[in-house]
């Protein structure tokens, strides 16, 4: 197999893996195996799925530094777009299955539940990143592209706030995600980032 074919296969595999949860949830709902409130099931799962996708996306840069493997860089845009896709499904689930498209209720909900506004801000940010993820936008934005896409960091913060605000009685699960986020962000601190390639070298020496 050519190198190009190998990368295509890798990207295709990642695509299918990222798609799989959606197919699974859809199938569960179709089989009435998603509990008595299937809309809420999709709402919660798509939201958590979006957070997973963002954390995976943000892991790719440190992983590349650590391993120098090109494959991680090749799926960065794809995973970023999956984050947007899951987040969009999360909003869609809310509008369709929770609100039932009752827009009058939306008004009162937004006032009552400020965390919805926080989530919406995060989604708007993701849309901006998605819309500028193509080559044309990258060329057009030039040097400004990179700082723009660092918006992913505050977006992660907004998502964690959105999640935190909804917790009723146990912060255990939230704490896991917040810790993972903190670790991933810590790899971007200059002293840590500098050491990642060196750490790889040391591993190679041991071997």
């Amino acid at each position: 197999m050519t190198a190009q074919g190998k990368w295509r296969l890798w990207r295709g595999g990642v695509f299918l893996a990222a798609l799989a949860p959606l197919l699974l949830w859809g199938w569960q709902v179709a089989q009435n195996a998603a509990g008595p409130e299937p809309g809420r099931y999709l709402l919660l799962n798509s939201g958590l799925g979006g957070l997973w996708m963002l954390l995976l996306t943000l892991s790719l840069t440190p992983l590349t530094r650590l391993t120098r493997w090109k494959g991680f860089t090749l799926i960065r845009r794809q995973l970023g777009l999956w984050t947007l896709a899951y987040a969009s499904l999360h909003l869609l689930s809310y509008a369709l299955f929770i609100l039932g498209l009752d827009w009058a209720m939306l008004g009162s909900e937004l006032v009552k539940r400020p965390y919805i506004i926080v989530g919406l801000l995060a989604l708007i940010g993701l849309v901006a990143l998605g819309a500028t993820s193509n080559r044309w936008a990258m060329r057009k934005l030039g040097k400004r592209w990179k700082p723009l896409h660092k918006l992913a960091y505050p977006i992660l913060g907004l998502i964690l706030l959105h999640f935190f605000w909804g917790v009723r009685a146990d912060l255990g699960e939230w704490t896991l995600y917040a810790t993972a986020s903190a670790l991933i962000m810590a790899t971007r601190l200059p002293p840590v980032a500098r050491r990642l390639p060196r750490f790889r070298q040391r591993l190679a020496d041991i071997r």
Partner: protein, 338 residues
């Protein structure tokens, strides 16, 4: 002693939803959990009195006997179309019981091994006849009743569930409260070995879970101590072997797996009020006019619902039991005492 009062919510046997009506509202297939399992379980509990499709548990003989001798359909809802009984799988597979985790399916997944036999309940405080009672001794003197109640969760969803149990008033009377008793305080079992939620270091609840009622609320004929549902004993995840059901209050007031009932002078601080006093009050009466600070209480999603029909209905004052209980709160500002 049997308290029998005719109330608007008391209907006759003939008013029970015909099974065909009930079934037409419902999906037929579905599983509690797992992928393949969903298909294996066909058939749901109908509105027939025998609940032949509900899996039988392993209740001790005395409890089985009491459950079978229950007065069936002692209280049923007036709108049997909207208030159709939720399928057993939903009522037992989707609920909150934070002692077993915060997910809605955690209790069903993790409560299976809870040891409920033997079980004893301490009755203490301002009573002349207190002590530690074996569950059987506590429940045996009363005739069991089946009551079909709406259960409104503070999270704005609701289900209709057929409980089996005894009026709390009868248990309290037998304990002979002293003149000082003004409130009733309840406690859930604390056993981190059996209850994984109590092992979480991030839990905001200070175990044991505590609930409370004013004495007149506790003595109200609608207030039930449930030992069963759907014709059988309570599944562990629903608060076996003994739980409270107060149908005009938010679900969290209906404390599960009770080990202690205390008659007290001072108003108890219930667990949710302790965590977030601005969100949860002592009374927690269902009230569409008083919102939770983080969401509206004007409507509720009646479960089970389906994807494109959230089944949102208007929430009723006192969960539709205003005729029976409103007088308890005459003259009170329910905005202040939420």
């Amino acid at each position: 002693m049997l308290i029998n009062i005719a109330k608007p919510s008391d209907l006759r046997e003939s008013d029970v939803t015909p099974e065909s009506v009930y079934l037409s509202r419902r999906r037929f297939m579905g599983g509690m959990a797992g992928l393949g399992a969903g298909l294996a379980l066909s058939g749901r509990a109908g509105a027939s009195a025998d609940y032949s499709d509900v899996p039988s548990g392993d209740a001790p003989a005395w409890l089985k006997e009491k459950l079978e001798a229950s007065r069936r359909r002692a209280i049923v809802p007036d709108d049997t179309e909207q208030d159709a009984i939720a399928p057993f799988d939903d009522a037992s597979g989707y609920n909150n019981f934070y002692e077993f985790g915060t997910g809605k399916s955690d209790p069903a997944r993790r409560a299976g091994d809870l040891e409920t036999q033997p079980w004893s309940v301490v009755i203490d405080g301002e009573v002349n006849n207190g002590g530690r009672f074996d569950l059987e001794d506590l429940a045996r003197p009363s005739r069991f009743e089946e009551r079909i109640y709406r259960l409104r969760c503070v999270e704005a969803w609701s289900m209709v569930i057929p409980w089996l149990g005894i009026p709390l008033a009868e248990v309290i009377k037998r304990a002979e409260p002293t003149g000082k008793a003004r409130f009733v305080r309840f406690e859930t079992l604390v056993d981190p070995e059996q209850m994984p939620g109590q092992r979480s270091s991030f839990a905001l609840i200070d175990w044991p879970y505590v609930e409370g009622l004013r004495l007149d609320e506790a003595m109200h004929p609608l207030t039930l101590l449930a030992l069963g549902m759907y014709g059988r004993e309570l599944p562990n995840q629903n608060g076996a072997p003994l739980r409270l059901v107060v149908p005009w209050k938010y679900g969290f007031k209906s404390i599960k797996s009770i080990v202690r009932i205390s008659l007290v002078e001072e108003q108890p601080v219930n667990s949710w009020q302790r965590i977030a006093p601005e969100e949860y009050g002592f009374y927690a009466n269902v009230n569409p006019q008083v919102d939770h600070p983080r969401w509206s209480q004007a409507t509720e999603r009646r479960l089970p619902n389906s994807l494109f029909n959230p089944n949102t209905i208007d929430t009723r004052m006192f969960n539709g039991y205003a005729d029976e209980v409103a007088e308890l709160y005459a003259g009170m500002d329910l905005r202040e005492h939420f």
